[in-house]
């Protein structure tokens, strides 16, 4: 491919290179050729990005693509298209598939399928234990050789502390992180939402914040003891954020991610809808997610954690489900939110609310996740607009208002509590490896035009 493409006149935000200024980005042969002012590129196709933001493509370290085995919820085609619409150029696929991604053959299947059908980069995350049962370690070295960038039994914690300890030790030898879904299962049994006044209001069984905090504390203690890297998935409570902050301060190798929904929605969304306007108690199954939406105080702590770097990155925990898995009694509904296509706009609430700069948000969605899991070892230059890096680029309109219409999602999962909610901040175009994989308005492209 020898196509040249110039993204001209946008505000280029590239945290890795400390750049936040009006500039042009020249793409050649699928890589970033140059970033600079007034680039003249004869014969290049031009994207006019004036008034828009140009940033490295987002990286999601927590995506459920559901393939193999659960294609009725999502597959690699639909999931990566959803990613592209959300501005993501790399997604890390969680291993809670059927069968679980606990052997090389399953990883190879996913990578082969991704090679054929994915529109963005797919980096697999291997299971920690065989069948994600929490008992015996999976062949972690073989999984790493096959291309896994981290290990996780996500959906469930590694409940047994000794198994977790061994996993951390073993993964250290491979230079990879263990990602833990922190939930002390004996404290969350039957719990379907955050334990608090809303669960009391609704008569639903609660999951206490302490269930997450106890497991985060355990994982930090183990990581500290064996010198391993633990990554806390979808952090959601004040206590957990404070534990990570304290651990980082004393040098523990702990990183953490937070989802857009845990940064913006509270447990009230379950009772009153995401916009708080439900006429009757909503029992909003689309707001049923694990970890559950927490209290306003927890949300504030997550935002502070993201702002001060305690929390390294935003991750979607994109968890698509079929309609019937949500159109049912709350207790019986599946946990999860389809998040790829709203992640940026929802997170922009923090920027519009003055809690985080746009550059910081971009960092937490690009360089932050890349560094948290060490993805640059798998893909040189990922999460940056450095010359020679893959041309993974997103063009954003930070102010554009739009109303979430799940039926228009590329994801098969229409399960979002944000249906009908207006958000500000839109992905205008997504380029993965120099290929335009999503474009909001055809008018954006001045095909064959010449800049200048």
């Amino acid at each position: 491919m020898s196509e040249r493409l110039l993204i001209a006149g946008g505000r280029v935000v590239d945290p890795a290179n400390g750049r936040d200024e009006l500039a042009d980005v020249l793409v050649e042969d699928g890589r970033i050729a140059r970033v600079g002012h007034e680039i003249v590129a004869d014969g290049a196709r031009v994207i006019d990005a004036s008034g828009l933001v140009v940033a490295p493509g987002f990286i999601d370290v927590h995506t459920h693509l559901r393939e193999p085995g659960l294609e009725y919820k999502e597959d690699i085609t639909s999931g990566t298209r959803a990613a592209a619409r959300g501005g993501f150029t790399t997604v890390c696929a969680m291993p809670n598939t059927e069968p679980a991604m606990d052997t090389r053959s399953v990883v190879e299947f996913v990578l082969r399928a991704a090679g054929e059908r994915a529109v963005v980069r797919v980096l697999p995350i291997g299971a920690v234990t065989r069948g994600r049962q929490g008992d015996e370690l999976a062949e972690l070295a073989d999984l790493a050789d096959a291309g896994c960038v981290a290990f996780s039994d996500d959906g469930a914690p590694v409940a047994d502390a000794t198994v977790m300890r061994r996993a951390l030790e073993y993964a250290t030898g491979l230079g990879l992180a263990v990602i833990d879904h922190c939930e002390e299962p004996s404290l969350t049994r039957d719990g379907v939402m955050h334990e608090g006044w809303v669960s009391t209001r609704l008569g639903l069984r609660g999951q206490p914040a302490a269930a997450e905090e106890a497991m985060v504390a355990r994982d930090i203690a183990l990581a500290e003891a064996v010198g391993a890297h633990v990554h806390i998935a979808h952090i959601s409570t004040r206590g957990a954020v404070e534990a990570v902050r304290a651990a980082k301060a004393r040098g523990v190798r702990v990183t953490a991610e937070v989802t857009p929904h845990h940064l913006t929605l509270t447990h009230e969304a379950v009772a009153f809808g995401a916009d708080g306007r439900a006429a009757e108690l909503a029992y909003e199954t689309n707001a049923k997610v694990n970890p559950p939406l927490r209290s306003a105080d927890d949300v504030a702590a997550c935002i502070d954690g993201l702002a001060d770097g305690t929390v390294d990155c935003v991750a979607t925990d994109h968890a698509p489900h079929a309609v019937i898995e949500k159109l049912c009694e709350f207790d019986d509904a599946a946990f999860g939110i389809s998040g790829l296509e709203t992640a940026f706009a929802l997170s922009m609430r923090l920027v519009h609310g003055g809690r985080l700069s746009l550059a910081a948000l971009v960092e937490r969605m690009t360089l932050g996740p890349a560094r948290a899991l060490g993805l640059e070892r798998a893909v040189l230059g990922i999460g940056t607009l450095a010359e020679g890096a893959p041309a993974d680029i997103v063009v954003l309109d930070p102010d554009a208002a739009w109303v979430v219409e799940p039926e228009r999602f590329a994801s098969k999962g229409k399960n979002t509590p944000l249906a009908g909610v207006e958000l500000r901040g839109q992905v205008v175009a997504t380029m993965a490896g120099g290929r335009l994989v999503f474009e909001r308005e055809a008018a954006l492209m001045a095909a064959g035009g010449t800049h200048g």
Partner: protein, 369 residues
């Protein structure tokens, strides 16, 4: 309360517009959490009317003739189902009872499908009991007919609270300023939840009492008009810095863990059923200690106001949450509660059908689908 004349006028036929249903807008009865004082009064007045009907030699009126009431019970409940069935029959409705299995979910028929099927074949009122909190809300969102909640999970049991309220008012006249103590497993009690809403709306002082393990999160952190600081022997940690909504979204009750102190000067003492599985579930050490600390017995009742009412939503575990002598003593209103249940449910069925909600072909004809 309605006047005697009004009651008499209504009961002649009960199918002519009557004062008690004037302005009634609720197609569904899901909970009492958003009931206004006027609405509660309307139900009480309609219940007076129904009591009169039930006292007749032939307690039958054709008020709901041509109306189909389906009781859809996903949980066993002889008492509530029978009460609704009788209520419908007294009013001349056709009553169909369906004992649904909660396992039908796993067999593939969803609640929404079931509800839509039942209303398509002609159900005008769906009386629903379900083990899952919120299930009637889901049903109501997908129904053109009326949905009456006959108990959902841990959440609400509005007709029980209405009959409790009616029973209290029959004896006390008014509940405003009265002290009502609800004792036992508050966490898992839909009866307690609905009662808290109705009673606090009408100005009663509500004290809930039970072991800290059975007090749900956040309860008692809202300010009751008559609360005293020492009443919060156990004040659950949680969410004190919450959204201001918290100030209004839980009923303003006091939480007390010492029953002797809780019943002090009470006008009503309501014991809740203590499910045996809670004891095995580790919420309390066992029946012996539970009954020692939380049984409503003669000694404790003596601390309440003289003649204080003793109530229980049934079925009772005598010897556990209530002593045999108190359960059947002079102050007990348990049988009256059951009797009032029929009248209250007649009132509810009658009121919700005033809104014209229909199932079956009529619904299609009205363009309601």
């Amino acid at each position: 309360m309605t006047t005697d004349t009004r009651a008499a006028d209504q009961t002649q036929t009960l199918d002519a517009p009557a004062t008690a249903d004037e302005g009634w807008r609720r197609r569904h009865l899901l909970d009492l959490d958003d009931f206004t004082v006027d609405e509660l009064e309307q139900v009480m007045a309609a219940t007076d009317t129904m009591k009169e009907v039930l006292s007749r030699e032939v307690p039958r009126v054709p008020a709901l003739r041509g109306t189909t009431v389906v009781t859809l019970f996903y949980e066993n409940s002889t008492r509530t189902r029978t009460s609704f069935e009788l209520a419908g029959k007294v009013l001349g409705a056709d009553v169909i009872n369906i004992a649904a299995s909660a396992s039908s979910v796993t067999k593939g028929e969803s609640l929404v499908d079931t509800v839509q099927t039942l209303q398509a074949v002609g159900a005008d009122v769906l009386v629903m009991r379900h083990s899952r909190s919120g299930a009637p809300y889901l049903a109501a969102r997908h129904a053109t007919c009326s949905v009456v909640n006959a108990g959902d999970g841990l959440h609400a049991h509005p007709t029980q609270a209405l009959l409790d309220l009616y029973t209290m008012r029959s004896a006390l006249g008014d509940v405003h300023g009265r002290k009502v103590v609800i004792v036992g497993d508050i966490m898992h009690s839909r009866v307690a939840r609905s009662n808290m809403w109705a009673l606090t709306a009408l100005g009663a002082e509500v004290v809930v009492c039970g072991p800290p393990t059975l007090i749900p999160a956040g309860l008692g952190t809202t300010t009751a008009p008559a609360s005293s600081p020492d009443a919060r022997a156990f004040s659950p940690r949680r969410d004190s810095k919450e959204h201001p909504r918290m100030e209004t979204e839980l009923p303003p009750v006091r939480v007390e863990t010492d029953l002797d102190r809780a019943v002090e000067g009470a006008d009503v003492v309501m014991a809740l059923r203590m499910q045996l599985e809670r004891m095995h579930g580790g919420f309390v050490p066992g029946a012996r200690e539970y009954s020692r600390l939380y049984q409503v017995n003669a000694e404790r009742l003596a601390r309440a106001k003289p003649g204080a009412l003793v109530m229980h939503p049934g079925p009772m575990n005598e010897g556990i949450e209530i002593s045999h002598e108190v359960a059947h003593g002079l102050q007990s209103r348990v049988e009256e509660q059951v009797a009032n249940g029929v009248a209250v449910r007649m009132a509810v069925l009658w009121l919700v059908t005033r809104t014209g909600a229909r199932g079956g072909i009529r619904a299609v004809g009205r363009g309601a689908l």
